[in-house]
Every structure is written in C-alpha cells, then in structure tokens.
C-alpha cells in the first residue's frame, strides 16, 4: 500500500505508526481500506460498529439500574431497565442500518494550489432510505451530511501539502445515529488521484517581457473585428453579426484577429536561474497567474516541453498541470 498522506495535525504518534505497520503486515485487516474504484456499496462486510464512550457509560448506568431493580425486587424498574436495554440494541442496529446499502457513486475533484484545501465532491446514493447524521472524516477534514436522494453531493475539503498528483485519501464515513450510543463506520478509499497545482510564490521579480512598449501592445492586441465570413457550424453565437446577416443570404460571423502570438509573454524556466527547482516552479506559477490575470497570451517553456502561446482558462490549466507534473 502506498504511504498515505498523513493528517496534518502531527498525528505521527506511536499508535498510528503501529497502525500502519499492522496494515502492512495484515492486509486482511485493510481489505476494505485499499484503493478501489467507485461505486462502492457499504455492506455488512465493511461496516464496523462499536459502542461510543457515551454508550459504555450508558451501559454502566443500565447495569447499576439492573442491580438496583433486582435487589429491591422491583419489577417495574426492571421493566424500565430492560426497555432501555432494548432501545440500546435498537440504536446499535439503527447505526448499522444507517450505513448499510449507502452507495458512494462518484467523485469529482477540483484543483487547488498546494497548501490550500481541495474541494472534492462525493456523490452519495441513499438507496431508498433516509440517512441522517452521517459524518465524513479521515481525509484531513470533517463534514456532516444527511443523504436523502440518489444523487446527493457532499463537498469534502481535502488539505494538500505538495504539488503533483495526490491520491485521494481514504474517507471514514461514520454515524452515531440515532442515539449516539453506537458508532458504525466504514472506510471508502476511492481509486482516484487529485491534481495539486504548485503554490505560487508570494512575491518576486516580474516575468521578463519581450521589450515591447505595453502601450503599443495594447493597441496591437485589440480584438477589433478584422472582417466577416460565412457562418460555419461551431461558431459561437455571440460572434454572429446579426444586423449584417439580416441583409445577407447567409449568416455572417465577425472574424477577429487571432492574438498576436509573436508578442506573447515568454515564461521560461531558464529565466529564473539560480533557484532550487521547487522555487523555480513557484516563481513560474506566479508568472502564469499574473499572465492569466492580465488576459495577455503567454507561452510557457519548461525543460523538455513548450506550451504554445495562448491565453484563457484552458491554457492556464494546461500550464499549471505541466508545472504540477514536473518531476
């Protein structure tokens, strides 16, 4: 099993180390904790249940009540105690039933910068039973939810530490519903990787420009219509020149100048010399952020690959992915 992302709260205690060793030695223990592909249906084979601390305390109180009732030969008190005992067992089965049959259907992860938390949406299917009081944790965050529908999304905020592909940490889904006497839990470890973008450095030198006057660049890069052409399938609707088309047989589409890629900013790995690789990546990430924010096209040149000049969200994500995936 891959070493798993440790929870941030410095939990590397004796117990967790022992736990990990146990998991390595006894894979049977972790059969349902190893990564698996969704959907996962929680069933009795993977639902564990134990009394909570309050449950144990409550049992102790019941024990005292039982002894008292028997000692005083008080049948009404005995009946009451037995009734509470029955409710306790009902609570145990209720906790189990609250998880049994729940389906973890799919997982959609956003992307985030390292150090921030990453929003992952887990789709849960109630499978025909209302499931209140569900808690999800173990992935570094915690959340509570109530699942009623077949397409119930829960947002998990997974903390990230470093850039790159991060395996989805395993999620503990547990409940003490209905009375807090028993805790039923199950682990879901989706076979899913999350992309973590490198964290941009806070401040530093700006990206080296191409020496062109920013004023001139602005003029050159305007999106003035450069002419009109006939509509082709796939053209965005907002590009259609409706007034002009009204006087024509066909729809006309305004054609804009393609961004002047020759004047794109060049964000080059080599422009940040003398830095450790991670710091270089952080700097490039800042440059990419800045370029994306300014709306100008840019090209990203990394060792072994060059991302052609472009702008926009897609380009941005491509660049960030490339940065994240750098060895």
């Amino acid at each position: 099993m891959k070493p798993r992302q440790e929870e941030p709260a410095a939990r590397t205690t004796m117990a967790s180390r022992l736990h990990r060793r146990l998991e390595r030695r006894l894979p049977a223990l972790t059969r349902h904790k190893s990564p698996e592909s969704l959907p996962v249906t929680l069933s009795r084979r993977r639902i564990y249940i134990l009394p909570t601390r309050f449950g144990l305390g409550f049992a102790a109180v019941l024990g005292v009540m039982l002894v008292g009732a028997l000692n005083y030969a008080n049948n009404a008190a005995l009946l009451l105690t037995c009734l509470l005992g029955g409710i306790g067992i009902h609570a145990m089965l209720g906790a189990f039933r609250n998880l049994d049959g729940l389906v973890a259907g799919a997982l959609h992860g956003d992307s985030a910068f390292a150090g921030e938390s990453l929003r992952v949406r887990l789709i849960l299917d109630a499978a025909g039973r209302e499931r209140p009081g569900l808690r999800l944790d173990g992935y570094g965050g915690a959340t509570v939810t109530r699942v009623e529908t077949a397409e119930h999304g829960v947002d998990l905020h997974v903390p990230t530490l470093q850039r790159g592909w991060m395996p989805m940490p395993r999620i503990r889904i547990h409940t003490t519903w209905p009375l807090g006497l028993f805790r039923a839990w199950s682990w879901i470890h989706p076979d899913h990787a999350l992309l973590v973008y490198p964290a941009a450095e806070a401040s530093g030198p700006p990206a080296r420009d191409q020496g062109m006057d920013p004023q001139m660049r602005l003029a050159l890069d305007g999106d003035e219509p450069a002419g009109f052409r006939e509509y082709r399938a796939g053209d965005p609707v907002h590009r259609i020149a409706w007034k002009l088309s009204a006087r024509h047989r066909d729809l006309l589409v305004s054609e804009r100048d393609r961004p002047d890629t020759r004047n794109a900013r060049i964000l080059d790995w080599e422009h940040a010399p003398g830095l450790a690789p991670e710091q270089r990546i952080a700097r490039l990430a800042r440059w990419v952020n800045e370029a994306h924010a300014s709306g100008q096209p840019w090209t990203l040149q990394l060792p072994g690959q060059v991302l052609e000049p472009a702008s926009g969200n897609e380009h941005y994500h491509r660049c960030m992915t490339a940065l994240a995936e750098l060895p």
Binding site: G57, A69, N74, C82, I87
Partner: protein, 670 residues
C-alpha cells in the same frame, strides 16, 4: 456534579458541540419529568424550589442565552447536600437519595451547555426515573415514569448532527417507534432475568412503615389509616363470597392495655420465642368454609391477614397462639397466598390460667368510673358473660354515642372520658372501651385489629380491601363456647359494618373522596389488580414455573439465564436480519431477463459482462438453431419493452414475463 480536569477538555469534536435549542428544551423537559415523578415524596419546599430553578434556567437560556455563572452554580451545588442533610439528617437512604438525585439533575441542567453535558444528564435522568419506581410501582406511576423516557430518548436523538428538519409535532413518533421495537426485548428480560432470592443489600424503607395496621392501638391511631385509600389486599373467593357482615379479616391480637395503648403484651423477641414454643389456640371449625386467595400489598411487616377464622396457615406462614398469621420474612413485595377459613367455629373452649390472667389484665389507677360501672354489671348479671356483653352493647346503642372519624381528644383516663363525656369516636374507641368494660366485669376479652368490609368488584370478581377498611373489634371468651367476636362499633353505627368507615362517618370528605369518584376508583382498581398480578407480583416463585411448558418444573437461575440467552439470541437474529434486509427493487422485466439468462447458462450460453441483451440473445439464437424463433421473439419483446415503450406498460411486461416462463430451451439432439 462534574469535575473538569484538564484532560477532559480534549474530547472529540462532536462532544464539544454546543447544545442546540431543541436538545436543550428536551433536556429541560426530561429533568422536569424526573422532578414530577419524584415530587410526591420530596418535601414541598425542595421540589418547589427545584421547579423554580428549572424554569428560570430554561427561560434564561432560551431568551437570554449564555451560561450560568460559576458564582451562582457553586453555592447551589454545595447547598444541595446541606439542604438534604438538614431535611433528612443523612445523605443515604431512599428519600434523601432521591432528593439528591433530583437536585443534582436540575443543577446539571444549569451547567448544560454542550452535547456531553446533555448526554450525561440523560443517562442520570434515566437512573432518576427508575429510582422513582422504588417508591411505588403502581401502574400509573410506572406509566408516568415511562412517559419520562420519551423526552430523554428524544434528547439523545436531538444531539445527532445533520438530522431531518425538526418539528415538535413529529418528535415523539420515532421515539415511540423505538420504544415499541424495544418492547419484545424488554419483555424477554423481564420474564427471564433471574430474580435474586435474597437482596444484595438492605431493602429500602427499613426505618418507617407508613401503611397498614401497626402492632399497637391507642384510640386515634387508626384514624390516619381510615382516610388512606390505597389498597391493602385483594381477595378472590373460590366459591361464593361471605356476606358483608362476615368479612372480618383478622390481624394482630392485642392483649395488654396500659391505660392509653393496647399492645400485643410482649416484645417481638419474647413473642418469637413464645410463638415457636407455645401451642396455638385450638380451633374446631363448624362450617361456613371459604377457600380464597389473598394478594397482599407490601406492608414492610410480618403479618398476613385472613378471613376470620383461618383453619390452617399457608405454606410460608405460621400462626401466633391467637391465630394471627405471620410471614417468615418481612413482606416487602406483593405476596399471594391461598387460605381456607371457617366463619362458624369454636376457638379455645377451655382457657388456661395464664391466658385467663392475660385476658383480664387492666392497668391499675386508670378509669375508675368505667370500673365501677362494669362491677355493677357483674353483680347485676351474676357474672353471666352474655348478659354483660348485651348490657355494654345496649349502652353504646342507646347511650347517645356517635360515630365520627374526627373524635375529640381524650385525657388521661381515656376510657372514662370516652364513655362518660365525649361519647364520639370510631372503631378503636369502641373496641378499647368495650374490652376494658368486659375485663373490669370479669369477662376475659381482647382486642383484634384487622380489616372489615371491602369493595366487591363485580367485573373482576374479587374483593378489594383498602387501608381505609381497617377496623378493630373485640373477642370475649365464654366458657364452653370459646372466643366470640363482638363488634361494639356495629352497636353504635351498624352502617360501619355495612357500608364502610368513610360512608358511616358521613361528614367532612375531601373533594377527592366524593362518592362517585370513590366508586370510579373502586371500578378502576381492576386494572391495578391486573397490573399487580402481571407485573408487580411476578416473583421468583412464578418465574420458576415459567419453563413448565418446556418440561422444566422448577427453573433455577441457570435454566432461566439459559432461556434468556436463547431468547436474546433469537431476538437479535430477527432484529439483525430485519436490519440487513434491503427492499429488493428489481423490476419484473429485469428479473425475467435474469431468469432467461440462468436457463440459457444451463445450456452453456453464459452472458458476457460486455454483452448487451441484443448481442447475447442473437448469439444464443445462433447457437440454438431450433429455438431461434422463440429467442428472437423474446429479444423483440424485451427490446420493445426496454427501448421502444414509454413509461410503465404493465401489459407488455407481463407478456414478457410469461413468455420467459414458458420458454424451456433444450439442447439440440445432435
């Protein structure tokens, strides 16, 4: 109270969540219920101030918010045990304990801010509810206590996160459902958990006995009993019931008079020694037999009651010389026993000298006028007992005597005062004065206490004897005839014997003693009796007979424990399978398709995971040429059903299911 040491701060996050409004309201309601069930035996000032405290805390948290400051909580917490000690003199025992528990629960509400507080509070509230049952396990009390469980369980439920939207209206539903589901297990435990044969520690209420007839009688004593409406015992007769005037239930016999109080005339230790050694007064029954069963409420005393005159003692009791029944152990639980009595009898036709002396004992220096009167009778009737008795009864009947439950107080010479000045009283006064007169006139006499009358419950066919039916009468000894019962009260107020003490007294009833209400309560008693028989009176003896249908005559703790374990396992298996059961939602078309797949698989045509229905059935049609037409028809029907039809078409589904059922593919004979 909870001590907070540093380590406890690091509880799980869920435990530290602040208490929501509903949870707090429910917790307050739980505590209020505990207070209600205990209010009956707490001193008024304590339950009153606790109720005020509870209401104030609820108001404060609901409308002002925030916690109660420590400077307010601390004195209250420290003050509670002090107050309990001030009231009871001790912290231990049933009543101080219940005061302490109730007070602590209300104080717990004062500091309740987090889920953990609420949980602890609920657990101890359950204990508080249960401890209320030690004071009385009547049906109504038990039901009120059971009602208290609802807010307690609802509180626990309200502490869970991400719960469905809250509505007070819908709140009791799930809890009641939970209680209903818990009931089978509760009953199993109730029937099969082995009862202790002897208590592990002292049973409660050692010090004081509140109910029932006591070991002595000084005129004015039973007065408290006569307004106590709680049941003393219930009698069901095998044959016909005795007429009202014969319904005298014999209790302790009092021999010794000290001028004020009648007692049994010896200490208990002496008594035990005597009753073991000395002979029981011989009885010759002459007829009027009654066989019956008495179900006695706990008295915390030893004696049992029986219709005059019991013929033989029940299994676990014995007679005193004067034929009062004594139980081997103190009666702390409901006791049922079978008896046989005779209403026409001769008791002790010859009297030995010692007994005669006891039956003529009078204190020196008391009641001179009564002595003079009695001696005058003795001379007048030449010592004939019957005439002397008649003279005394005539005096009561015609001498301007009245019957009242609120008699004026008597002075030092109580008999003189009663006979010659106040002339008002109830059974105690008459029995006491009559016996005194008899003894002074040289007729051996004694006082018998017990119960008389009772209410016949027609529906349940049993006789209900309440504490208010307590009575005292006399027995005089006549040579050759033995002890004869004389009820001087009847001479004054025959109605006492006919309609009961309260009705006979006529006046001054509280509103809750109104006749129609009394009547209603008498009728209602049948439910209490049922409860007593089914629940309260279910004792070790009846438990032992529980396994009789399984061939075990006397089930010991081991067999009962085994039965409990078996029953528990069975219930758990049922419950677990119910919990595991998921409503299978497979539509009929899919099920039919699966059936078809199974049939084809038997012929070796197994559907691949990647195969859709079309590919699969086409392949099957290719392989089974002789079934090709049928298979293609099936395929058509299925595809039509699945992809060409809109919505539910039950008709075509049914057709497809039928087609599949009729389709029985065979391997082609090569």
């Amino acid at each position: 109270m909870k001590l907070r040491w540093p380590g406890r701060r690091t509880a799980a996050a869920g435990e530290r969540r602040r208490l929501g409004r509903q949870a707090f309201d429910l917790l307050a309601l739980t505590m209020a219920m505990v207070l209600v069930v205990h209010a009956g035996h707490l001193p008024g000032w304590l339950s009153g101030s606790l109720a005020v405290l509870l209401a104030a805390r609820w108001y404060q948290r609901r409308y002002r918010g925030g916690r109660v400051p420590l400077w307010l909580r601390l004195p209250l917490t420290l003050g509670l045990p002090v107050a309990v000690i001030a009231q009871y003199g001790t912290l231990f025992g049933q009543e101080p304990g219940s005061a302490l528990v109730t007070g602590m629960l209300v104080l717990k509400l004062l500091e309740a801010e987090h889920s953990r507080d609420a949980r602890t509070g609920v657990a101890f509230a359950c204990f508080g509810l249960m401890s209320a049952l030690l004071f009385g396990q009547g049906m109504l009390a038990t039901q009120i206590v059971g009602l208290g469980l609802i807010p307690a369980i609802a509180t626990l439920n309200a502490l869970e996160p991400a719960r469905p939207p809250w509505r007070w209206r819908n709140a009791p539903g799930p809890v009641l459902r939970m209680l209903a589901l818990a009931l089978p297990l509760a009953l199993l435990g109730f029937f099969f958990i082995p009862r202790l044969s002897a208590p592990l520690w002292g049973a409660p209420g050692d010090a004081t006995a509140r109910t029932g007839i006591s070991a002595s009688m000084s005129p004015g004593d039973i007065g408290q009993l006569l307004i106590d409406d709680s049941p003393a015992f219930r009698v069901s007769f095998d044959g016909h019931r005795p007429p009202r005037v014969e319904r005298y239930f014999r209790g302790p016999v009092l021999w010794h008079f000290d001028g004020r109080t009648w007692t049994r005339g010896h200490t208990s230790a002496q008594h035990r020694a005597r009753s073991r050694s000395s002979r029981i007064e011989p009885l010759t029954p002459m007829g009027g037999f009654h066989d019956y069963q008495i179900t006695l409420q706990p008295t915390r005393r030893h004696w049992m009651f029986a219709l005059d005159m019991p013929v033989s003692p029940p299994a676990d009791g014995h007679f005193t010389p004067a034929r009062t029944l004594l139980h081997g152990k103190r009666i702390d639980t409901i006791l049922s026993y079978r008896m046989r009595s005779s209403t026409r009898y001769v008791l002790e036709p010859t009297l030995d000298a010692t007994t005669r002396e006891r039956a003529l004992q009078l204190p020196a220096g008391f009641d001179p006028r009564a002595r003079v009167l009695a001696e005058q009778w003795q001379r007048q009737f030449h010592g004939d007992p019957k005439s002397i008795v008649d003279a005394a009864l005539r005096l009561f009947h015609q001498g301007g005597f009245g019957y009242t439950l609120a008699p004026p107080p008597l002075g030092r010479n109580s008999v003189d005062d009663f006979l010659f000045s106040t002339r008002e009283g109830f059974c105690e006064h008459y029995a006491s004065a009559f016996t005194f007169l008899m003894r002074a006139a040289g007729v051996p006499a004694r006082v018998v206490t017990g119960y008389q009358g009772g209410y016949w419950n027609t529906m349940g066919a049993y006789l209900l004897i309440r504490q208010s039916d307590a009575h005292a009468w006399s027995e005089v000894w006549v040579k050759g005839r033995g002890w004869i019962r004389v009820d001087p009260t009847a001479a004054v107020q025959p109605a006492r014997v006919d309609i009961g003490a309260m009705a006979a007294a006529g006046a001054s009833r509280e509103w809750y003693q109104a006749a129609w209400l009394q009547n209603l309560r008498n009728r209602w008693d049948i439910v209490n009796r049922w409860w007593n028989q089914a629940v309260t009176g279910f004792d070790a003896l009846r438990q032992r007979g529980l396994l009789k249908p399984f061939g075990i005559r006397h089930a010991g703790a081991r067999q009962l424990g085994l039965a409990f374990a078996i029953g528990l396992s069975l219930l758990l298996v049922i419950a677990a399978s119910l919990a595991l059961w998921r409503r299978p939602h497979v539509d009929p078309a899919r099920r039919a398709m699966q059936r078809l797949e199974r049939r084809l698989a038997r012929l070796g045509i197994v559907r691949e995971r990647s195969e859709g229905p079309r590919n699969y059935l086409m392949r099957a049609a290719d392989e089974l040429q002789h079934e090709r037409a049928a298979l293609l028809a099936l395929l058509d029907a299925y595809l039509h059903l699945r992809y060409a039809s809109e919505g539910e078409e039950t008709e075509s589904v049914r057709n497809f299911v039928r087609q599949v059922r009729e389709f029985r593919p065979r391997r082609a004979v090569q």
